[in-house]
Amino acid sequence: MTTETAIRVSGLRKAYAGHLVLDDVTLEVQAGEAVALLGANGAGKTTLLKILGTLVRPTRGEPRVAGLHCVRDAEAVRRLVGVLGHGNFVYEDLTAFENLKFWTVLGGHRVDAGALRAALAQVDLDRFADERVRTFSAGMKRRLALARFVLSRPRVLLLDEPFASLDRRAGKWLDDYLHAFKAGGGAILMSTHSFGRGLGVADRAAILAGGRIALDTPVAGLGADDVRRLYDLHAEDGA
């Protein structure tokens, strides 16, 4: 495992129309490491992920991915990160194969039908390749969204509630995928409310409260109940 810093955030501040969401957030994620971002609703988890994904500009501070500034070097950062939001970035009236083809071409990658089908097979969607996404369950859409990363090979994954709306089988699949991604040297920052699966992948848990990182702790040796206690102590108090 390398010790290269994949994500470095320092003094990050974000305010929307005078409402302060993030205030002096400092956080680091190393290559091959996964950090679970915990916090109450509105704590700023999604905002932090969107700033790192170059979708939102910070009011102040230094958000960096692989040493690149997320505002000044946004174009380069976009080539390194894989972002998974709530919406999955799928078109309902395209098939799974067509969706993957669309995002692959738009990402500037070479399209090879065999590679596209292999990527769908990796997320266990090869049997549904030619079916319209409109007929898919939430978990299948999530897996299709993740299939993009098989082809684009990002170095950093920014995931917003990746386990939301997944059943046990899909959750297990995502769990395995994220472990493999980490083992390959990738870095993961994910927001989660799942103290079970989400923390199973994570090496550290960072709790956002009051616009700051209230606690940043390794999760090795901590059970779900321990983390829940820490969460109750820090997240709810600071919210």
Binding site: G85, D93, E98
Partner: protein
């Protein structure tokens, strides 16, 4: 090459999704049909009044259905956060703009062809003889309309009052195109040669170039917000 492929894939996606859902096409078709009923009811069988009003009515139908269609340009992108996906895609965003413009031109020309056929049927007007020059005027007018309309649709995609704001922004800018289109269509339907309205056609061509170039240069900044 990558730029052209990226523009093409956006056009392909828009055409495929519209062909399958037919959401916009159906809405525009019934809207056009309603317009025709209203025009027919107002003008009745008075051929003289109809002849004078036809170019204006035709373009009124094109523009109104076009506004409806263009306003929906980024609706599909809002579903499932695809607009964020477009924003995250690396590379020059103007390729996305050109793909969107091409998709809108294709959609609008389809609706305009339907509307023209219905006009000919409802008002018993023979447009077959004037079809080639009329098609030229329609293409020139539609490209300019779609170019600036796509840009404003992107601009208002995140605005809450976009249904109100979009036509308010678009219509004043469309006035020169609309005037040129009506004048050129009038001449064509009267059987005059296109050379008689060359100045209007040059205005249309210049507007097309200006709007497309403005779109290519500014789309990235507009999408980034």
């Amino acid at each position: 090459m990558t730029y052209a492929r990226r523009a093409w894939i956006v056009l392909w996606k828009d055409v495929v999704t519209e062909r399958r859902s037919k959401e916009t096409l159906n809405a525009l078709f019934f809207f056009a049909l309603l317009l025709l009923f209203v025009f027919q009811f107002t003008l009745g069988g008075d051929r003289e009044r109809l002849g004078a009003a036809l170019p204006g009515l035709l373009w009124l139908g094109f523009i109104l259905s076009g506004i409806l269609g263009l306003g929906r340009t980024f609706l599909a992108e809002r579903e499932n956060d695809c607009l964020e996906g477009l924003l995250l895609s690396p590379g020059d965003k103007s390729a996305i703009y050109l793909g969107k413009v091409a998709g809108n031109v294709a959609l609008m020309l389809t609706v305009e062809a339907m509307l023209l056929a219905l006009f000919a049927l409802f008002f018993n007007v023979d447009v077959a003889g004037a079809l080639p020059p009329l098609a030229g005027v329609m293409v020139l007018g539609t490209v300019g309309f779609a170019a600036i309309g796509t840009l404003f649709a992107a601009m208002t995609a995140h605005v809450r009052a976009r249904e109100l704001l979009f036509p308010v922004l678009l219509l004043p800018v469309q006035v020169p195109i609309l005037l040129a289109c009506v004048k050129a269509t009038e001449a064509v339907l009267l059987g005059e040669p296109l050379s008689a309205v060359a100045h209007w056609l040059k205005l249309l061509a210049a507007a097309d170039v200006i709007f497309v170039v403005a779109g290519v240069l500014t789309f990235d900044a507009i999408l980034e917000g």
